[in-house]
Symmetry: C2
Subunit: 352 residues, 2 copies
């Protein structure tokens, strides 16, 4: 019956014995101008042949591919949830995300951004004429170089966990979140507190902000000391820095790690040094990644709302596409995080 692998509108029109234009209009929903019987015949023929709209053609004609490019890291549970929020939100508008990444899983959670690769990936998306881009900026040295190009092509961009003056952004409310952590630790009685930051490269604005907001929040208290360490540019020396931090003359009774990945290093280093958690050392993480609850002891951490972050990023993009938002002025949305108290925090030993 079908001599072509995929049925074309032409085939449907022929089967229903109507013209191509009539079939097109009827299938697009413009049924008022046609007889009931004709509509029925066309719809039936379409169903029978398994005809489906061709979004390639649609994309060429309207300039809308109903596809959003997403550049985020090889996934840990945070990014899986972000992606899930993006996916759900886009699906509601009949959009689909198309996701690319650079680096490899083996290098998680930190990895080198290779400029050439980032550029290749962003171009793969542009070649497919995506209607918008959601990204985590560390992937995109490419991003900075190509922002003017994206603007010229009118491809809206939303960035996640990165402050930007040129694109819409969604980020965790670092001031709120770090204040909660500081309150928790200070409330337990800790007065010598260490902070383990991540890589603080120019693109990792979240790490810088989280660390500095935390320092500020602790210092507002007056009588507590806080000191921060950070990973090297490759993020490859987590365990060493954690050891260094724990053996420092500060002798911290509590450590705030800017993400659960860093908290895991602190936990491991504490174990090696014979420090019991939480009796000798309290640890607070950030993100509530899937492994946080099953660490021993279960990790006290700030639970971000990754699904919500993804949802909002997708909504920003959709609003730009639909022209709901005015052409100018990038928006920044801050999402609150909540403290999940588990077993890795306790008052410091009074003997100390």
């Amino acid at each position: 019956m079908a001599n072509s692998p995929v049925p074309r509108l032409k085939d449907v029109a022929k089967a229903a014995n109507v013209s191509l234009a009539a079939a097109s209009r009827i299938l697009r929903g413009d049924r008022e101008r046609f007889g009931e019987e004709t509509c029925r015949r066309v719809l039936e023929a379409s169903r029978q042949l398994g005809w489906r709209r061709n979004l390639l053609v649609n994309g060429m004609q309207t300039g809308r591919t109903h596809t959003i490019g997403v550049m985020i890291p090889p996934y840990d549970s945070f990014w899986v949830s972000v992606l899930s929020g993006i996916h759900d939100t886009l699906a509601a508008s009949d959009y689909l995300p198309i996701t690319v990444w650079i680096g490899s899983l083996g290098d998680m959670p930190h990895f080198e951004k290779e400029e050439g690769d980032g550029l290749r990936q962003i171009n793969r998306l542009l070649d497919r004429r995506v209607d918008g881009l959601i990204m985590w900026p560390p992937f995109s040295v490419a991003y900075y170089h190509h922002f003017p190009e994206l603007v010229e092509r009118r491809v809206p961009v939303a960035v996640i966990d990165h402050y930007s003056t040129v694109a819409d952004s969604v980020e965790t409310d670092e001031e709120q979140a770090t204040a909660v952590v500081a309150d928790h630790l200070l409330g337990l009685g800790h007065r010598r507190i260490a902070c383990l930051s991540s890589r603080e490269t120019p693109s990792q604005t979240w790490a810088v902000k989280r660390r500095s907001s935390f320092e500020e929040a602790v210092r507002r208290n007056g009588d507590a000391t806080v000191r921060s360490w950070q990973l090297n540019a490759h993020g490859s020396n987590g365990l060493e820095v954690a050891r260094e931090l724990l053996t420092d003359k500060l002798r911290p009774t509590a450590v705030f790690a800017v993400s659960d990945h860093e908290a895991a290093f602190v936990r491991q280093a504490a174990g090696e040094l014979g420090l019991r958690v939480p009796q000798d050392l309290s640890i607070v993480g950030f993100a509530d990644l899937d492994f946080a609850a099953t660490m021993s002891p279960p990790l006290t951490t700030m639970r971000q709302k990754p699904h919500e972050i993804g949802r909002l990023a997708a909504k920003l993009i959709m609003d730009r596409i639909d022209g709901i938002m005015p052409d100018e002025e990038p928006t920044t949305i801050k999402v609150a995080a909540e403290l999940i108290v588990r077993k890795s925090t306790a008052p410091p030993r009074t003997a100390d």
Copy 2:
């Protein structure tokens, strides 16, 4: 300069002062027939204007979109690795996966497949004229109903962890893997062994096979007893079944769980019942998910090769697309798994 948001070939041709056809041929690499100076002008103009090939047009003309649809579950670390293998392999051929899922993260690792949703997602991919499909069949009751349609459209399909007679498939070598687990437990001296299977719905052929292969492997030994339990159709009663299994009159000294998710239930139930792991109870999982190493005690488990599985599935699809494989005869590739011995297995108590 550019009056249109995205530069067209027409603009490049005009800027380089050549005809549209010449620009097209030169940019496609057909440079032999043109002068060096002309080629330089066209390439330069293209670079300057930021022109990029339009894969929508390409797709319409050649019937190849350089895109592969992927339907896999909301990701745990196994599926993230599978996806990574797919991504890397496709990228090498300048293809991109476009991933959809059904169900939600909250229902992991088991969830209802809702037929309507599965169909909607597969159609989203078909609308974009993907060149092939990689999927995990539980997502696709849709798949079974639409296989004839896919065949007619000549869309090659590869399935993962599911035996199929109609599509290519890649799966873990269950016989090899379960024999290794059986040898490990029997070698330690266990003689009363329980097996906790997953949901054993018709689409979960891997669970059925893994459980039955394990039973067979144990029974080959002669003097050991094995008994199996399984989750309900929704996969919602893992903890209850684990409790039931541990309090059964069999009094198992070891449990093999068909995935780490189920192993986690066994661990939790053991804790509740005051059984120490591994002194009172040995547990073996399957998959080596990211949380396996940080469980307490760290879980002995079979490490699958998800990246390799993804790579092979992508390669099967690419071979079908490139016409390398003959038109008939679906292939099945089996991938070996390796035992990772951690702290959750030990010899049974001799007192017992």
